[in-house]
Each structure stands twice: as C-alpha cells, then as structure tokens.
Amino acid sequence: MIDKIAASVADALHGIADGATVLIGGFGTAGIPDELIDGLIAQGARELTVVNNNAGNGQTGLAALLAAGRVRKIVCSFPRQVDSQVFDGLYRSGRIELELVPQGTLAERLRAAGAGIGAFYTPTGHGTELARGKETRVIDGRPHVLEYPIRGDVALIKAEAGDRWGNLVYRKAARNFGPVMATAAEFTVASVHRIVEPGALDPEAIVTPGIYVSRIVQVARVATRAGGFKSAATA
C-alpha cells in the first residue's frame, strides 16, 4: 500500500541533511509552507541553499530560518521587499550569498530539472548584468542566454488538499511555485489543510500528481497573512 501521509511535520522532514538545497514554495506570503519551515528550523539542518522567489518577510517563516543562521546561500528573484529586514542585514554584512535570477528563468530552471532537460536557451536577461559570463547563442536572429537546471534535494511546498498517493490541489494564487518545485526535488514534502481518500480529488483537476510527492502532512488552516510588498521604482 502506498501511504505518503506523515504523522507530524517532524516525521515528514526526517532526514534532511546539512548542506542540502531546499526549494521552498511561495510568492510573498502566499503559498509559503510556514509550518514546514518551522519544522526545518526545529530539525536542525545547516549550511542550506534555499531557493524561493523572495528572501523572507517579517521575522517568521523563511526570515526566521535565515535569522537562525542556517542558510548559506539563497537563490531568488526578488529579495528586496519592505519587510525583508532579516535578509537585508545578513546580505549587507556578507553573511549570506545571493544568486539573483530573473523570475521566469528561476521557474524554468526548476521546470528543466524536473523534466530532465540538460540546459536551455532563453532570451530573458540577454545583455544584462544577470547574464554576464554566460554562454549566448543567436537563434532565429534573436540572442539567447544558456541557463542550467536548479535541482533540489528537498522541496517544501504548501497545497490545499491531498491524498495518500500524494496527489495535490492548491488554493488560488498560493499555487505559484509549488507544482514546478515538486517536480524538481529528489524529495518533496507538501503541507495540506485537508487529507482526503484516493478518488476524492477530481482527476481532471489534480494539479500535482502524486508521482512528484514524497510525503504529505496535514496542518491547521491559518489565513495567509499580508506581507512581501514590493516598493515601486522611485528613481
């Protein structure tokens, strides 16, 4: 029998090693698996590379993981937010490495990892600082930049509901990076608010098939809090 349901967050996260690359879903505060991040803080793995669109908001969740000194490097598209003070402090004092990636390139590098693609050429970023030193090629008259996959040892994602096979559905725009990160990691843990019997999720509506999911764990529903606001260009 296939049963991916973990009894607790601690059980679900058992075995995450020091130095792991951890893909963490979410965009701002939507889709951030806060309970799994808290579990990772308790679990104790160190020297992590974290991949997330942002770099933590406020003092909780990803920001708390950073504040605990457990993250060596962050790969993201938009670290600077009005409430990213924990990251800002670590970055300015040279205590965290930043790899800044255009958001679509971040998503596609994750997709490539999950899809077994060795690398891909994208027009995004050509001629900019973020493409410096990268291979380029003109395809159909348009310059492209060579980008490589981002593979995770672990993905931590938040979904709405799941079953013991690991099939998942999401809620609104909290879906964001969850489905693509689930495909890109060796080991994917999803928190869900509801666990249902196999067959209860409409097969036409399952977003992440269970093949991509290693463990699921139920957490209480807490309304997503506000956070991660961008400030507009002001120059």
């Binding site: 679509g104 001629g127 120059a235």
Partner: protein, 216 residues
C-alpha cells in the same frame, strides 16, 4: 514648459488606458502602471495577467474581504473576474516569455531612444538588487510600454541616449508615456506622438537633449 501643465498620475494612467485595445491581454507592472487597471475605458474587455499565476485579475476586494492567497505581483490583495484562471509559475512565465501577452506596461528609471530599458536596479553601492519578473516581461510581451515621469527629481530627462543604470532589456520598449509627452522608440530613435498643451517639440527636444521625429 513654463505654461504647460503636467499630467497627474491618474491623468497619465488614463492616457495609457486610452490606447489599450479591446480584447487585449495585459500585464501591468508594480507602482504607477497598476493604476491603469482603474482607468480602462468602459465597454471594452481587457484580461489582466499577474506573474504569480493569474489571468483575469479583478479589482481590490472591499476592506475586510482581503484574501492573501489571491494577490498580485506587488503582493496586494486582488479578486478574480468570472472567466479567470490560476496556473503555476512556469506556465505563467511561459505565457510572458512565449509572446502570448499583447502588452505589458512597466515603470522605469531610464529608457533609451532605441528602447533599451533600465528599471530593476540603481546599481548604487549597498543597494540590494531585485529583478522579479521585469526582464521576462520586458522582452516577452508583444509590446512593452513604459509609463514614467519624463524628468527625475533633479530635473534630468529619464529618456536618454544610453541608459546609465543597469539594463533590464535591450531594444524592448515600443512606447513611453510620460507626464509631458508620449513617445515611440525604435532603431531610428524617438518619435513624438503627442504632448501636453503648450509644450512645443523644440522645448521637448531641449529638455531631453535628443532629436524628436514626428509632428505634435
């Protein structure tokens, strides 16, 4: 520009909105461009895309009904219009990069006469860089328009011969809507589309320091 009157932010948003065609799929950037959503002409249907996986973005919810699982690219709470859809990030950026959006409207630090865009990083020492979806949008939408004030706080033109700020994309901006005039960018440089009343082309050329083609 002594006697001419600059467009306020809402008037500029209305100016941009007037040029958006019925049936367009549009991404509006953070800040000033977001205002365009509230200024679209009545009687046309425009589908708004948000990079975090939404087509059919609707207006902000009433106070007390915010749902932070449904936010726009600036993380502000929004709603979904009937017919709207959710999708994941790789699909969302495939739409953008793959040329499926008719238009994006972005803010900018600088735009060059040939349409180079700088809008993600001032490059200042100590500034934390953040790019988000700007580079994907700039080169991915079928048309990229910029909406900005023509002059910076020191009175220098933000339309320039070459951008001094780090680039977001090369030759990607088709039009620039400003509080003083509207321009088209291209390989041959700037064309003046229109200007506020009592602002002559000569005065604009002097302000920008670049030649302007076209009449207005």
């Amino acid at each position: 520009m002594n006697r001419c009157e600059r467009l306020g932010k809402d008037a500029l948003a209305r100016r941009v909105a007037r040029d958006i065609r019925d049936g367009s799929i549009v991404n509006l950037g953070i800040g000033m461009p977001t205002r365009v959503a509230d200024c679209l002409p009545t009687g046309i249907e425009v589908v708004l895309h948000s990079e975090n996986g939404i087509l059919g973005v609707g207006p902000a919810p009433p106070p007390g009904e915010e749902d932070y699982d449904l936010v726009n690219a600036g993380k502000q709470p929004v709603t979904l219009r009937p017919g709207g859809a959710y999708f994941h990030h790789a699909d969302s950026f495939a739409m953008m990069r793959g040329g499926h959006l008719d238009l994006c409207v972005l803010g900018a630090y600088q735009v060059s006469a040939t349409g180079d865009l700088a809008n993600w990083h001032t490059g200042e020492a100590g500034a934390i860089p953040a790019v988000g979806g700007a580079m994907d949008l700039a080169i991915g939408a079928r048309q990229t328009w910029v909406m900005m004030e023509l002059l910076d706080k020191q009175g220098r033109s933000k339309l320039v011969e070459r951008c001094s700020y780090p680039l977001t994309g090369i030759a990607c901006v088709a039009r620039v809507y400003t509080d003083l005039a509207t321009f088209a960018c291209g390989p041959a440089g700037l064309t003046l589309i229109d200007a506020v009343p009592r602002l002559s082309r000569d005065a604009l050329e002097a302000m920008i320091g670049l030649p302007l083609r076209g009449v207005a």
